[in-house]
Amino acid sequence: MMLPPLVARVRVVTPRHAFGAWLPLFLLWILLLPLALLLLVALAVTALVAPRWRCGALLAGTYAALCEARGTRVDVEGGDGSRVFVALH
């Protein structure tokens, strides 16, 4: 089963402070579920009004892109010791 990123690892380091966290994205998806249901209804109406927009395929493609974002890593290091690291799991 394809799942969107469930956890994001974030680390921010400045010369004075360091902050790191595992963000539970799955909670965000649960919170967004009612919005997603509303979006589904809106897309169903759009599909009836404008079939050329291929709403079903667009929704599936967007969801697939979101799911495949797992494994993305961005690491930016400054010369002054500052660093920002984000990874999606």
Binding site: R52, W53, R54, A57, L58, G61, T62, A64, A65, C67, E68, A69, R70, G71, T72, R73, V74, D75, V76, E77, G78, G79, D80
Partner: protein, 144 residues
């Protein structure tokens, strides 16, 4: 190296066959191996092999901030993105093409077909860009 290849090279070394003849034999040997059903044991299925990530690294040790950037993007995300571009309606294609052109990319996204995706991603796997600047900055784009 296989025994057949070694034997052909030995024949060249001994002067029994010419280099051109050896090349023909080696080509034939390669074609036999590439033939359907003759895949090496354990060979990965098409589409499952190849690089998993596109990496972009930027190093600028003598720059204003001496920054280092290291980005890893899953190849499947690129696949999904191109697939998404392929199903966008024609009106949106025009807008994307226009925006890309404004940013110096002359690409018609409407011509990207889902069946071409694997080929695009496969060729992306061979991509390696290595740029060294005169101030010591370095940009590398590669797949792993």
């Amino acid at each position: 190296m296989s025994a057949e290849r070694l034997r052909i090279l030995n024949l060249v070394a001994e002067g029994k066959i010419s280099a051109a003849e050896a090349a023909t034999l080696l080509d034939a040997l390669g074609a036999d191996r590439a033939a359907p059903g003759a895949a090496a044991p354990g060979a990965a299925a098409p589409g499952s092999a190849g690089p998993r990530y596109l990496r972009v690294t930027v190093e600028d040790p003598q720059g204003e901030h001496g920054a280092k950037v290291n980005v890893r993007v899953p190849m499947n995300l690129i696949r999904a993105g191109v697939r998404l571009a392929a199903i966008l309606p024609p009106g949106v294609h025009d807008q994307i093409n226009k925006a890309l052109k404004q940013n110096g990319v002359d690409l018609d996204v409407s011509k990207i077909r889902p069946e071409d995706l694997e080929e695009i991603v496969a060729h992306l796997g061979e991509l390696t860009v290595d740029v060294d600047g005169n101030r010591g900055e370095r940009v590398r784009v590669f797949c792993e």
